[in-house]
Amino acid sequence: MDNLNLLIQAPILNVQLLLDGLWIGAIFALAAFGMALVWGVMNIINVAQGEFVMLGGFITLMVMEAGLSPLLGIPAAAIVLFVLGWLLYRVIIWRIVDADMFISLLATFGISIMMQQLMNEIFGSDVRTAESGLGMFYLFDNMVTVSQIKVLAFVLAFAIGLALWLFLKRSRLGQAIRATSQNPRAARILGIDTDRVYAATYAINAALCGAAGALVVMAYSIHPYVGLPYTVRSFMIVIMAGLGNLGGVIAAGLGLGAAEQFAGFLLGAEYQLAFVFLLLVVVLVWRQMVLARRRQYLK
């Protein structure tokens, strides 16, 4: 409880923890957008989510090694991963969209371990970082420090969330995506090429993860095995937000980030993860108890 006292005595620490939580939460949310899309539209849980993030990071590193600003890595990673996502769909995913969701889970798990080791063979398992060239904000007499790249990540997550929302609401492809997610068979009888819709959805997801990866390598670090935490958190966020609720994804992402930071501070870093996952279980159990009282309606 010493740590709690500390927070009460030095309230400014709360600000730092909250901000740090929000930054990382924004990146989680970015990866989770894509997962929510793919899950909602294609009924696929994409376990390779974290690996897309990781690839985005490595692409940014390559951009940097080519002598360009790593900030260019954000669009570069998004574009490359969009193409990769499309290819993956055309080669593998299309065969399993109609199958049981669990099949997709395993297939993407296979893809994910392939990617991990491929990247390990190509780049080695070193921890890598890229310097964005952006500076820091120092507030309250250095008591609160804010890295500008993280602010950028935060803003970007919001902007992308908004853009995605508009895209789904307004554009033709967006409408096709929504229709397919609600009733694929009906979409097909209206002439929607659901196959292309799926490909686009998967590719957009990969692109979003790529952008997140570019931010991760600039704000944190990357190595070939870094993916799993991002996948797992995307999962959690989507579950908490509910499918097809982009606003909820942002809120859940930010909330999760902040919860982790405070948990790490209060309980020690070793219980940070355990706390967050137990929290997840508690949330689910609570939701379950509420639901049990008013049961799902059946026809």
């Binding site: 970082t129 820091m136 935490p229 993860l273």
Partner: protein, 384 residues
Amino acid sequence: ECVITMGAAVSLTGKYSTNGTHTKNGYNLALKVINDKGGVKVGDKTCKLAVKYYDDESTPARGAELAERLIKQDGVKFMLGPYSSGLTKAIAPVTEKYKVPMVEANGASRSLFTKGYKYLFAVLSTSEQYLASAVALAAENAEKMGKKPNQITLALAIENDPFSQDIRAGVMDDAKKYGMKIVVDDKLPKELNDMTSTLTKVRALRPDVLVVSGHAKGAATATRQIAEMKIDIPMVAMTHCDSAKIIKKFGKAAEYTLCASQWAPTLKYSDEVFGSAMDFAKLFEKTYGYMPPYQAAESAAAVLVYADAFQRAGSTDPQKVRDALAATDLMTFYGKVKFDETGKNIAKPMVLYQVLNGKYVVVAPSKWAEAQAVIPRPKWSERK
């Protein structure tokens, strides 16, 4: 044609694969040099050395099985160690059971040497020594920080794996000896790439010394985030600085960091096979294209120890070789090797570098020190 094949399970994939590769490179370089020089005289024969590798995928669940496979299926009679303490812990019981000697270079956990293993020999300093000189240094320099040694406060941010936790135990013991107080004791998760919540705590509690150990990830993350958050602490000590390449990656941000190391190329050790420590480093760089981290050096040394033991035993009988190993008293480019009855090397100290002007400079122990340590570190506001 006499060939002595040793067996090794190393991490070629998974999270330890970088260090696993260093380990393998160290073994291979030593083999190559020894074989190029004609091999090892065993009795009246001259034998070449070879190693049979398996990949343990960085998980202890595989270790025991692989060791068994090497010994029973492949008929290996001598083992070289894997990378990491966890794997060594999993393998040692097997080699012990089959009475196969194992010379290891990367399992530093001291608990390996409390079990009465008779076939396990480690050329490296055990983990509790890693940061002992850093704590001692803090005590020595307490005055400069305006305190008595027993008023010094420590913050520990140490990864939650067997090896790092042993380092933590060592630091705790040393701190107790001086009566120092530990104000932060965070165990970092294995997947860490962000330690801002720990550092926020550190900033609030203003300890005198921050100790970080979490393999390369930990060193890289800490170096970067301490600088970003401009956290002023008089002393920051870490492990794995060189495998994290903190100087190359973070430049100024890495300045004044204290780093524990098993070995450094600048040390004045030498032997007949490789020449001086620097000679080894150059040869290694020529062969593999990068400067050897200590993991490579200690691995090469393990092979030298075997070669020496084969020679003295004059036989490839595991029992005889084990006895010869136990009696080892050998000078190598890596330092002196002499095992106590538990099998750990007691003849070689750890060294402590400090990053000064973009270079690693040995600052402790004083016998090898190239310069005086800069303590306390300049505040971030005072740095250019």
